[in-house]
Amino acid sequence: MSTAASAVALLIVLSVAGGLFARRAHLLYRIVRLGKPVDRSGEVGRRVRNEATDVLGQRKLLQRLGPGLVHAFIFWGFVVLLPTIVMALLGAVDPDWTLPWLGHQGWFFLLVDVFCVLVLVGVVSAFLIRKVQRPPRFEGSHLGEADLILGLIALIVTTLLLWHASQIALGINEWPADWSPVSNAISTLMSQGEWLETRERIFVWAHVLTILGFLVYLPYSKHLHIATAGLNVWFGRTRRRGRLEPLDFEVEDEAALRLGSGTLVDMTWKQMLDTLSCTECGRCQDACPAWATGKALSPKLLVMGLRDRLFEEGPSVLAGGEASPLVPGAVTDDVVWDCVTCGACVRECPVSIEHVDHIVDLRRHLVMVESRFPSEAGTMLRDVGRSSNPWGKAQGERASWADGLDVRVLEPGDPPPDVLYWVGCAASFDERARESARATATLLLRAGLDVAILGPRESCTGDPARRMGDEYTFQAQAQQNVATLDEAGATRIVTSCPHCFNTIGNEYGDFGGSYEVVHHTELLAELLRDGRLEAPGGDAEITYHDSCYLARHNDVVGAPREIVSRIGKPLEMARNGKRTFCCGAGGAHMWMEERGAAINEERVREAAATGAETLAVACPFCTMMLDDGVKQAGAGMRVADVSVLLAEALDGGR
């Protein structure tokens, strides 16, 4: 075939494939543009860094070393081999054409050979993982689609090697063949003869056509992530993980009032991009406490359900049609309510999908528009608004845990203390959790800090209401608390509860509240470090359970461990630090009935497996849940807050 004829043929297949790809890509773009606005501009430096670590560096994938390397080989291979696509297009037109300069560099072809082999190793390993190992994280994923894609990748790399080998056999290689050990070795197997030239043509065209076929198939498959993942990582949240996007109830135009996600047109464009980025790898599902205990929720299936709905209804909505409810159409009610907002899925996701935000937006619509939520949680929502605490306890009793302690209760107009102790509802009212409030206050006073509490003026931060989707009640609480804290002149706040810690520290900024917030474990560790508290040491075996809202959402991992190591012998659970496993109370689940197996028992079994006699915690809700779990599972462990253990150690044990 002449050069001109080849060029015409290539032009035709290029325009057909390019046209098909562009048509689909344009449709997807228009669907994403349907999404509601969300600000993901700014912080360019951070975003560039995320691209470097999460995309190029494959950081999150490498959290699981084996499968991570398999993916990294294929991905890095894809990056290195990109120029060979252009070379192949040129070579398909005329065997003598290649890229200027790069097409003559031996080192580049060495890289090509090496990565071709690595990609093949990756593909074979991926097949082995999927066919032999069969990890449960793939349950519910499109397995056949993955096989087809792996096959296509193998075909692309194989045809490339064969093409290079046939070029060497023909002697038309523009680069020193010695640099291509693999292609060179294959070329020696190729019989010389008149068919060689034809074979070279067949290989290069097979290579080009496979790539173009892949290109056309791509936007119809879950492998679309090649195009979307990089974008999704770029637009990923730069806010702290525990900080939810506030809703604006004061918008002028009522049509712009967004009350969570009712139908697909209520989703933000980032949420839509999320669904197009999912590759169904199931890392989220594997980390999910709800899924692990047999509940309906899998973060992966949630995102897949929303994506399917986007594809089903997106085109008709673009044409002016109506969108139907996401719940229970795309995902069931149970899925929405099973989530404990622990964020394990978000942390595991290699492509920056924000599952918790999807869940909360679905809840917001159900609660605020449809009044549809697990009925047993209704009392909590009402009590947060009416009684200023989720159990409807009398506010007058809020400070009664401090009876007999010399803790200053701040009255309006009092001079602000150095440290304001925000006790939180659980440590104020729950008999079990009050121990940690008493211990914390005693320790802070002992260290000589000027510390005070707000007493009855303290009110629920609104966190449980917000995680339930009742943004309205949350914002009312937030505004009231910001006013109280500002009036009190609080600058440095210490909290007992990681949920208060997260809400005041990360979320009140959206309502005008700006304070330095520390968790009691951070402050106590600081006092130990400064020698204002003396740690006596000890040899009791203690395993520390990380609270999701402390470790994963807010990166507080070291301080509680510092304390534990000063009073006993620390033992780590399998899932610890930022990869901790929820106690089961998050996302307002403290006030909902649990379906299926109990998350707290699952966690307690893991704690008991360490052999430790004490299970240390740093959250009043973890205290209650794990204490219950210990009793339910019949594990002979003591559950106690780190502050309680420290206070006891200082008093010479109990």
Partner: protein, 324 residues
Amino acid sequence: MTVLVYLEHADGDVDEPSLQGIALARSFAGGAAVQAVVACADDVRAPTRALAGSGVATLHAAVGEPFASYAPPAVAEAIVELAGRLGATAVVGPGTERGNEVMAHVGALLDLPVAANCVAAAPADGGAEVTRVRWGGSLLEVARLHTATTLLTVQPHAVPFESTADGEPALEGFTPSVSDAAGQVRVVDRVGASTGGISLTDAKVVVSGGRGAGSTEGFGVVEELAGLLGGAVGCSRAVTMAGWRPHTDQVGQTGTKIAPDLYIACGISGATQHMAGCKGAKRILAINSDREAPILASADYAVIGDMHEILPALSAAIRAARSS
């Protein structure tokens, strides 16, 4: 304007929420008399006398075999047929579990929205403006319905009913045609709740068991004492989680909230979520083997000991005192 009210009735009486439904319907009709509909096996059972002075002009009784028991889809078909015949501008139902269910069927049959739990409603250009209770009672929503026929249910105990000087309404029986499918759904059997008639919310004495009961069988001693005291049996969340008792027995924030004169909590540690459900109790007696159980902080009386020893002894003492 014709406004039609669906009423629930039993033994010749109309229940309170239905009367409140009439009150809202009258206000919707601008004070004019309204029409009402009931479903019953035969029109002798229609509560005509109870509706004297209610402001109902005509009571339509849908009669027939399907209405011998509660049959929501069949009732809905009767209402739709009647509303069509009368050219009703609005259909109002009581905001009870059953009223909401029937009206939901009506909405589905007419393919129209139903505004549930309204506290006020008035016609507004080509539709209606309603005020309804949202978010578990913490918010009132003003909403507009743009439909030719307004369908709504009335929040119970939120709209006062005042009687008029009118006499009994005229009674008109009719036999609606009920589809085979709708006729299939009806009550075939009634099973009493496990507490033997005394509900947790109404009981003067509640005896609850917690994790300390140990098993389903462990509740035998709890049931025995509750029976002797004429009280109801409750339990904690740990018990329902373990599957020893149904969720309907659970006392707590996520279960039933109770206000008995005496609450006897046996083998219950007293988690905050449990205490939130029994804070209305006048007196709390805690029986627990753990001297440090949190419930002791809220209890008026406490017995430290194993419930499996204490409860049988208590029951025996009560029996002995009664027989002497």
